[in-house]
Symmetry: D2
Subunit: 211 residues, 4 copies
């Protein structure tokens, strides 16, 4: 994408947002159904789940506010919507279906917010933005799946909600490589800083040393 | 992207949303600043603006509700935000700067909604969704720029707001080809029906004939 | 309040919004905890619940889209918020506590939307507005409790979301008379048409006869 | 309202939210049209405007983020909505009409946010919540008019957005006494701390002394 990148550089895209004083973590849709290549998973999602365990442990150790999202539809189909019209299989993700439950390695802990949703963004129609406001979060680190779907939609909304956003590049995954790479590129140019967990760790530790 | 496409097909993505009984049109950010390759424009944006003139005339002839969005920041920088932090040049788009004004060929007509925004989506923090609700719109046809930026963000929100979305493939443009193509692919798989204006015209006329 | 009313009349408040072609029904927070005078109930709430049974049966018979809201907080207190800080007892309304469950006489039926919330409005941070958009609802009839709390907040948001709102005066209740009456007055002047169920029934039947 | 108050006390309403570390100020709709008793004004609005000058000076001296809202409709009537259907005279409040401009004594200063709206709440369909998020505000002090209309609706939304809210009792006004008093009562019981400016000043100074 070097010719493309050149256009963005000339037009002044891709500046850094940096990390503020109060980071939080959002883990998006790492549920059994998205971990399963025969369900909605595949690609590098398993690797992202593995790496997110380290990120989540780091966030908890530093007492960052942590939120998780999952897709849940009503069992009677009452809340089927244009999103499920586009991807009909999504409607199996009901409260009782293990496919809608978080993977065992990334269960929410007490004190962490869980939001249910029926659309891509973890912010749209949920209490996530208000919760981050009351927690005083100024920078949202994002992990989850899929990069080109619910991650990207949530990143756009997090930025629009007034937050600096840092995408943990090795903690987000997608079922297909092309969309994964294309969305990382777009997010870095327009919405967020994109970097691997190790760089986020260093940034957070440098900030604490300053403070 | 054929290997990628195969994954999506196997997992049941990409069903059609179709056109409902009451379409509306949203024209996103076709302003001078985005028409100018030396500003935020370039790529196939000029071609998309040209084609949108035909689409807009068609929508008006059929009395579809029509809305337009533009990016406008305060002149004193008070509403600079994480989006403008990522793309600092955006802050020049103030009320009085011609770069923030609609291109001459696509001026809003009386009775059409205009929303100002400081983020990618034309829905986020605006009165657009309420206006479409009161107009009774059930299907939103989308034109504008950029495909991978404000168009895509608005398409995700339109769908999340309960609307069927049809992206007019030849009426959306981007400064770079890679992101344009990648977002058309993602939108077709997950959020909207993507088709050229000619197909939208035929669909609308077929629906009227039925009705 | 006749002197007050006079001011509103002189300034042109209190026009009628009327009923559109596609009404829907919203039943707000008629749960055991709000039915119980020793909980959050009392006043005329029991009478409103009784009357709402007739309204709900009417709405179902006419196949109006029906939605219900309930307050639900997480069991670990993670989503305690400024609302629960103001009314700490609200935090007992967890998923498993019968106080958060709908009263037996007003259980949701299959195909009806249920939204959980942690704030007064049934629209704020929920999928209610998108659902009404996709159902094509243009007029929202509102029942529930409390008149001066969650009903009023939801009425303001319903109107702001682009809907005509009709408050079923004998199907809304409050723990105290003063706030109940004051909110009915304000809503009639500024946000909604306020009338008893019997008038709503006649309006709906007249509309059908026309259609 | 002593019998009413007793019910609220028994049910545990009316706890204090207190002031956090980072207050902000919202001034709602103090425009010429609402200052004019022959327009939408009257009652104690003039007194509230006078008192808000002191509050605003105090907020600026302490470098609190300050936001202002005004109602503005399009000149062509395109964004007439259910609110203007209820109060048709509201549609005169167009960009060019002095009635929609802020009163001379309370002009926004550079660096202060101004939001336009067509509904009661200054949060609904505006960039206000994101701006407060990025400013790190945790407590919103509220002034403006009318107490039972746009102030109350904004207070409910501010609380729902995750903020502690303090209503400056002598800096909010209404065209009629009954609704003014009833809304102060409801807000104190359920949504916010209600106190005169002098108490807010003491609270803010005490907090600074602590810090």
């Amino acid at each position: 994408m070097s010719a493309d990148e050149d256009v963005y550089r000339r037009q002044g895209f891709g500046a850094s947002v940096g990390m503020g004083a109060r980071p939080g973590l959002l883990v998006i849709d790492f549920t059994n159904g998205f971990a399963d290549p025969a369900g909605f998973g595949g690609g590098n999602i398993a690797a992202a789940i593995a790496r997110t365990q380290t990120l989540l442990a780091f966030a908890r150790a530093r007492r960052w506010p942590v939120a998780h999202s999952r897709i849940v539809f009503q069992g009677d189909g009452a809340d089927a919507n244009p999103f499920s019209r586009k991807i009909p299989g999504m409607l199996i993700l009901t409260e009782d279906n293990p496919a809608s439950h978080f993977v065992p390695a990334l269960q929410p802990a007490a004190g962490e917010l869980v939001v249910r949703k029926t659309v891509p963004s973890a912010f749209f129609g949920t209490a996530l933005a208000p919760w981050l406001m009351q927690c005083g979060v100024d920078t949202l680190v994002v992990a989850g799946c899929t990069t080109s779907g619910c991650v990207r939609a949530s990143v756009v909304d997090a930025m629009s909600a007034g937050l600096r956003v840092i995408v943990a590049a090795d903690c987000v995954g997608d079922r297909a490589t092309g969309p994964h790479e294309a969305s990382l590129f777009d997010m870095q140019q327009k919405y967020a800083d994109v970097m691997p967990f190790e760089a986020i760790r260093q940034l957070a530790e440098a900030r604490s040393a300053e403070g």
